[in-house]
């Protein structure tokens, strides 16, 4: 007799569909997390949200590569916000320290981005036949405001494949002001008619900038960025640089372009030498490159020193020996004592300009870093600490801690600024974290 409550064809389809819920897991981590979570709930106040997944703090044991320190560890508090590519879109989580409790902020949304201060996320909601909506979410309250995008939100191309728009690429859809108060995107009524839109992150203000441009010009002749002094610089095809107030008001011809340094006073000139000059072109500091190529530069926040990633090969596609140079405004030059046998990556300065995190020995596959070591380097080039599986590093606002994520370990490591007292936190995703921000 046929069972009216069971359809074998439907069952087969449902079981196939249900496989979409399965992913690779670490059973021991889950088990330990479940036990730790229940024990924490018994003692913690206030109660944790049930939407937060509890993850095990693997341990405060110092990793083998990290040299022990007799320093008194600085109290660890606060949160980090992380982002990653997720099935062609992007997701974001907040991880609260020191417990390592993770809260999902945005899951599988188009173009998800995290503000530089960690306070907001932004993503795109698409609606067939009508304009996109930009959602700007608060990473603490998890409430979001909705801003009309004014068209189809357009992302820049994937720099490795040149296929686009790449809504899964990091920082391809939204541009933020450094203080996280403003966010901008390119909105297109048609691929040939796009404009920049600037919005306050609380949704209180929304402004469309200047003349339209074709989507093909995005990130080539059409781009914008906020300077440390809050000025908004906009480059538009046929117009060159324009500047505006931080909210996008009063778009005007730029009187004088600021320099490359955070304080706007210094410009970098690269030929056979690397020269730091004033805005009038007067050289301030110079180093002869000796045939090495400059692959990346990073100014110290106080504009007193420039970190330069150097390569010995002029073939941009080659795996090449690399190193790090440090040039200050007084002409002092130091080489960082790294064991680099591949191109060095971008250096990230601590907020007090006393040291920097650098990706040492990155290994690329398909344009992404799949293995890397990280290093903390002092201003004089001295290696403070090195550690495995670190491809992205960010300093806390007070400079007391460094958060690093690697391409392989599915963990975020938190270290003191001298590289000691390393704590590892398991992540709620097996994906490679490509965006990591401290929540200020």
């Amino acid at each position: 007799m046929t069972d009216p409550t069971y359809d074998p064809v439907l069952a087969s389809r449902l079981r196939a569909y249900a496989e979409g819920g399965v992913r690779t897991i670490n059973v021991l981590e889950i088990a330990e997390g479940a036990i730790a979570d229940r024990r924490a709930r018994r003692s913690a106040r206030p109660a944790l949200t049930l939407l937060a997944a509890a993850f095990l703090v693997v341990g405060a044991a110092v990793a083998a590569l990290v040299v022990g320190s007799s320093r008194v560890p600085q109290p660890l508090t606060g949160s980090v916000v992380l982002g990653y590519v997720d099935h062609g879109q992007r997701s974001a989580w907040r991880v609260d320290l020191p417990a390592g409790t993770a809260t999902a902020l945005v899951r599988l949304r188009v173009g998800t981005a995290v503000s530089p201060d960690g306070g907001h996320t932004a993503w795109v909601e698409t609606h067939p036949g009508r304009s996109d909506e930009v959602h700007i979410g608060d990473t603490i309250s998890r409430q979001d405001v909705v801003v009309q995008a004014g068209g189809i939100v357009w992302a820049t191309w994937d720099p490795t494949t040149e296929i686009g728009p790449c809504y899964g690429c990091v920082n391809a859809t939204f541009t933020w002001s450094p203080d996280g108060r403003w966010v901008a995107w390119a909105s297109c009524a048609h691929p040939s008619t796009c404009a920049f839109v600037v919005s306050a992150t609380d949704g209180s203000s929304r402004r469309v900038l200047g003349p339209a441009f074709p989507a093909t010009q995005l990130d080539h002749q059409a781009y914008l960025l906020w300077r440390p002094d809050d000025r908004l610089l906009v480059h538009l095809p046929g117009l060159g640089f324009q500047e505006a107030d931080s909210d996008g008001q009063h778009l005007r011809a730029v009187g004088r372009l600021p320099g490359d340094s955070p304080d706007g006073r210094w410009i970098i000139v690269v030929d056979s030498d690397l020269t730091i000059t004033g805005l009038d072109g007067t050289p301030r500091s110079r180093v002869t490159l000796g045939g090495e190529q400059v692959t990346d530069v990073a100014w110290a926040p106080d504009s007193s020193m420039l970190a330069v990633s150097l390569s010995s090969s002029d073939d941009p596609g080659a795996t090449r020996a690399g190193n790090l140079g440090l040039l200050d405004l007084d002409g002092n030059y130091a080489r960082a004592d790294l064991l680099a046998d591949a191109a060095s990556g971008t250096a990230t300065w601590s907020p007090d300009s006393s040291r920097l995190f650098v990706v040492d020995r990155p290994v690329f596959e398909g344009g992404a870093i799949v293995a890397a070591e990280g290093a903390i380097v002092a201003r004089d080039g001295r290696l403070i600490e090195s550690f495995r599986d670190a491809s992205i590093g960010v300093w806390s606002a007070d400079g007391g801690h460094l958060a690093v994520a690697g391409p392989a370990s599915h963990r975020v490591s938190i270290l003191d600024a001298d590289g000691s007292n390393r704590m590892e936190i398991g992540l709620p995703t097996a994906a490679r974290v490509d965006q990591l921000v401290w929540l200020r």
Binding site: Y6, A11, A18, V27, A31, A53, A54, Q89, A104, T126
Partner: protein
């Protein structure tokens, strides 16, 4: 119980008691045996892999706390699946934002299913997401987890007869909606 999903994974009684006492390795053996089944069930109910995994992980916290009170070790699987189903349904109720269902996902550079398979999956997904979470739970517990109507009724707080009636209607509805495949 239906088909291969009826296979019990033979967790020994001492593994259960060790896990209840806080032995993470013992609990990990249980996790390894049942996590994926729980995730499959939750995914059919909520339609989102991350949400399903989140619900299952939350369910493990509950499971561990209550493990010592499980009277019949032979019913471990059903017990775990019930907790997971309840957890994901509670999660759906607690959600403050409405989830936008993306039928067409922009997926640049990744592998794609062949168009026919993809269309079939999307049709089923669309049809499922038109149902209430309780109806999806009914279907999932019967057709994915292999529960009988009385077990489903206990989980959802309805009678076995009500389960049978609702399942019959749901199956007829889905057959009609998916008939063009």
């Amino acid at each position: 119980m239906v088909g291969e999903l009826a296979i019990e994974r033979g967790i020994a009684a001492d593994t259960l008691s060790d896990a209840a006492a806080g032995d993470a390795l013992a609990l990990a053996r249980i996790v390894e045996a049942y996590h994926d089944d729980m995730a499959r069930l939750c995914f059919v109910i909520c339609g989102d892999q991350d949400a399903a995994q989140e619900a299952v992980q939350a369910a493990w916290s509950i499971d561990w706390r209550k493990l010592g009170s499980l009277r019949d070790p032979a019913s471990l699987r059903a017990w775990l699946m019930t907790i997971a189903a309840n957890e994901v349904r509670q999660q759906l109720r607690r959600q403050k934002r409405e989830r936008v269902v993306e039928v067409e996902v922009i997926d640049i550079g990744s592998e794609r299913l062949d168009p026919a398979s993809r269309a079939g999956v999307l049709d089923l997904r669309t049809a499922l997401l038109q149902l209430t979470p309780e109806d999806r739970a009914l279907l999932a517990m019967r057709h994915v987890a292999g529960f009988a109507s009385p077990e489903i009724g206990e989980t959802l707080g309805i009678s076995a007869d009500a389960v049978r009636t609702r399942l019959s209607r749901l199956i007829a509805r889905l057959r009609s909606e998916l008939a063009d495949d």
